[in-house]
């Protein structure tokens, strides 16, 4: 396993009190695979993603747990070690490449900055590598001289990918890399990402709220809800035969051009306020299949070798799936 988190718990101090954005998460990212991390806004996926690279918001901190990268726990290895390894082992493609490039420096110079200052290359070698990287992501080398505002949205995203790959990382975290782009460009970027992943053999953690992105490009998917991991497994299994009611609801809520006219069924209600989360299963208030047992929080358990979920009614998954495909199930 390239990266695994053990009981990772991350808290925030806000003006309205403390809350835990991520609670007891055991995420596993294998080598050479694209893992999707999916959930609605506020479920903690970005917090989790940023914790893996160790650069979080000022009022966030890791309360407990481990982040084991190639066997070594980053959390207990100290800030200096983590900072030193940053970008070399794990890189990050930000949500909106629009603003992630410094507007007053040329794009090429920002690439060189990483290559020279962190990669230890001399200028000539760095320039060649920069051109290589641009070629890799499909941008003409002469664009290295341009400023960020001269790039189109799609190009900026590609530049961000090039930056992320600069030091040959083993894991790249892509936080909503295509959300801000139009559909056609989305496809292109995702194709580029997929292609690069296969060529370089890296792992990718793709954080998104869009299931169709997951379906298109991921090998595995992890579903998060209200700070907890609720289901995880191969993408075909989780999307095709979801075990957790929330996953089932997600499938219903997304358009799928493959199937003939289907009504989109939203999951009614809203995620709980994490300042004061429910004691039992966090999805229980919205779950159509809730029973008494749900007042106790369920643990993540294996459905089979590659598939895990956290639901007391895991065993009845097939029957529940049938009910879940009915519109009436989701209406109160």
């Amino acid at each position: 396993m390239l990266l695994e988190t053990n009981d990772l718990t991350i808290g925030y101090r806000t003006a309205s009190g403390a809350l835990r954005a991520v609670e007891g998460v055991n995420l596993a990212i294998p080598e050479g695979e694209i893992v999707g991390l999916v959930g609605e806004s506020g479920c903690g996926k970005t917090t989790l993603a940023r914790s893996l690279i160790g650069v979080m918001a000022g009022n966030a901190n890791i309360e407990r747990g481990e982040i084991r990268f190639q066997g070594r726990d980053l959390v207990s290895s100290g800030a200096r070690y983590w900072k030193d390894r940053r970008w070399r082992d794990i890189a990050y493609i930000p949500q909106s490449a629009m603003n992630s490039l410094d507007p007053v420096y040329r794009v090429g110079d920002q690439l060189l900055e990483v290559l020279i200052r962190r990669g230890g290359m001399d200028r000539a070698k760095a320039k060649r590598r920069a051109e290589e990287l641009f070629e890799l992501v499909g941008i003409e080398a002469n664009r290295l001289r341009d400023f960020p505002h001269e790039f189109s949205g799609g190009m900026r995203q590609r530049a961000a990918i090039a930056l992320a790959l600069a030091l040959d990382p083993t894991l790249v975290i892509a936080d909503e890399p295509v959300t801000a782009l139009d559909v056609i460009v989305q496809r292109q970027i995702l194709d580029t990402l997929d292609d690069l992943q296969k060529r370089l053999g890296i792992s990718v953690l793709l954080v998104t709220h869009d299931i169709s992105v997951v379906a298109y490009v991921c090998d595995r998917v992890a579903v998060m809800y209200a700070g907890k991991l609720v289901e995880e497994g191969p993408v075909d299994t989780v999307l095709g035969s979801p075990v957790h009611p929330y996953s089932m609801g997600l499938m219903n809520a997304f358009p799928d051009l493959g199937r003939a006219s289907r009504t989109l069924v939203p999951i009614e209600g809203a995620p709980p306020d994490l300042h004061d989360p429910p004691a039992g299963c966090r999805f229980a208030p919205r779950c159509p299949f809730v029973v008494d047992a749900c007042s106790e929080p369920p643990e993540i358990e294996a459905v089979d070798e590659t598939h895990r979920a956290a639901c007391w009614r895991m065993g009845e998954a097939e029957a529940l799936r049938k009910d879940a495909s009915e519109v009436t199930t989701w209406q109160t």
Binding site: T14, A15, G58, N59
Partner: protein, 302 residues
């Protein structure tokens, strides 16, 4: 209880008054603005009651019981801040000084803000040639150095506190004008203005009901700072010798002290208090402006 019919479409006057009331509420709700407002009230009270509070006439030359000039006396029970070289009571001068300060401050600030807001509204909303002309005029106003201009005006006009008011009215509306125009341009293109226009609201109505509430906080913000500008300018002008000679202002006191060698004699009681008074009232203005600033740019708590 029978339901009261709610007027959905407020009249221009109602909407305008409502936004004024909102702005007035800032003075009570915001901690800083409230403190500033309190200080202002205190100064206004002092100005109004100066005649009663001051032990002496500020211009009266005083003599000691044995007929000597009561000049350059250190602070005492009789003269809490001592006397000037000419034998005038400094404390009384300080109290009476609030009058010209407030007069100049409030009147000048009013004109500065009124003209600036008007220019900004008209230029921003009308656009086109009107906007261009008004902006060129604003450019010219920005091209005139303010203090030198007041000085030059003083060459031609009789010394009076109104010179400062005139000069500020002619020139210092420029900041307010530009910023308000900027704000109007931003607001103008928002959807609800389009909706109002399409549904046939008159220009005046749109201005008063929709645009004004977005713009008035800026006016008041600049207004509260402009009072400080006016008082500082008046002080500078008086210090330079171009100020009114009939009224005792703080600037006049400072000039008097300077010319009477109060600095070399270490007569702190003479030249420190007037400056402090200016500092206090200007800071009060800053505090009030902070209240309006928080409406315009609410600080996100993190």
């Amino acid at each position: 209880m029978p339901e009261q019919t709610v007027r959905i479409r407020p009249s221009r006057r109602q909407a305008f008054l409502r936004s004024l009331r909102e702005l007035g509420r800032v003075l009570i709700s915001d901690r800083y603005a409230f403190t500033g407002a309190l200080v202002y009230v205190a100064f206004i009270v002092v100005a109004a009651l100066a005649g009663v509070l001051a032990p002496h006439d500020p211009t009266e030359i005083l003599f000691t019981p044995d007929g000597m000039l009561a000049g350059d006396l250190p602070p005492s029970a009789e003269h809490p801040l001592g006397t000037t070289s000419l034998g005038r009571d400094i404390y009384s001068q300080l109290l009476y000084g609030t009058r010209s300060a407030l007069l100049v401050g409030l009147v000048a600030a009013f004109f500065v803000v009124a003209i600036g807001t008007l220019v900004g509204l008209v230029a921003g909303y009308m656009g086109g040639i009107v906007d261009t002309i008004l902006m060129r005029i604003t450019d010219i106003a920005f091209g005139i150095p303010f203090l030198p201009f007041v000085i030059v005006l003083s060459a031609f006009l009789e010394p009076s506190i109104w010179n400062v008011v005139l000069a500020m009215s002619l020139i210092l509306w420029r900041d307010t004008g530009r910023v308000i125009r900027s704000q109007v341009l931003t607001v103008k293109h928002r959807a609800f203005i389009e909706a109002a226009r399409v549904s046939g609201s008159s220009t005046a109505r749109i201005l008063f009901v929709h645009i004004a509430p977005n713009v008035l906080p800026i006016s008041l913000l600049y207004g509260s700072i402009a009072v400080g500008w006016a008082i500082l300018t008046e002080a500078s002008i008086s210090f330079l010798g171009f100020g009114a000679t009939d009224q005792i202002s703080w600037g006049y006191m400072l000039q008097d002290a300077y010319l009477s060698q109060a600095l070399s004699r270490g007569a702190w009681h003479w030249f420190v208090p007037p400056g402090l008074a200016i500092v206090v009232i200007v800071v009060a203005g800053f505090f009030i402006s902070r209240g309006y600033e928080d409406i315009l740019f609410p600080k996100l708590k993190d």
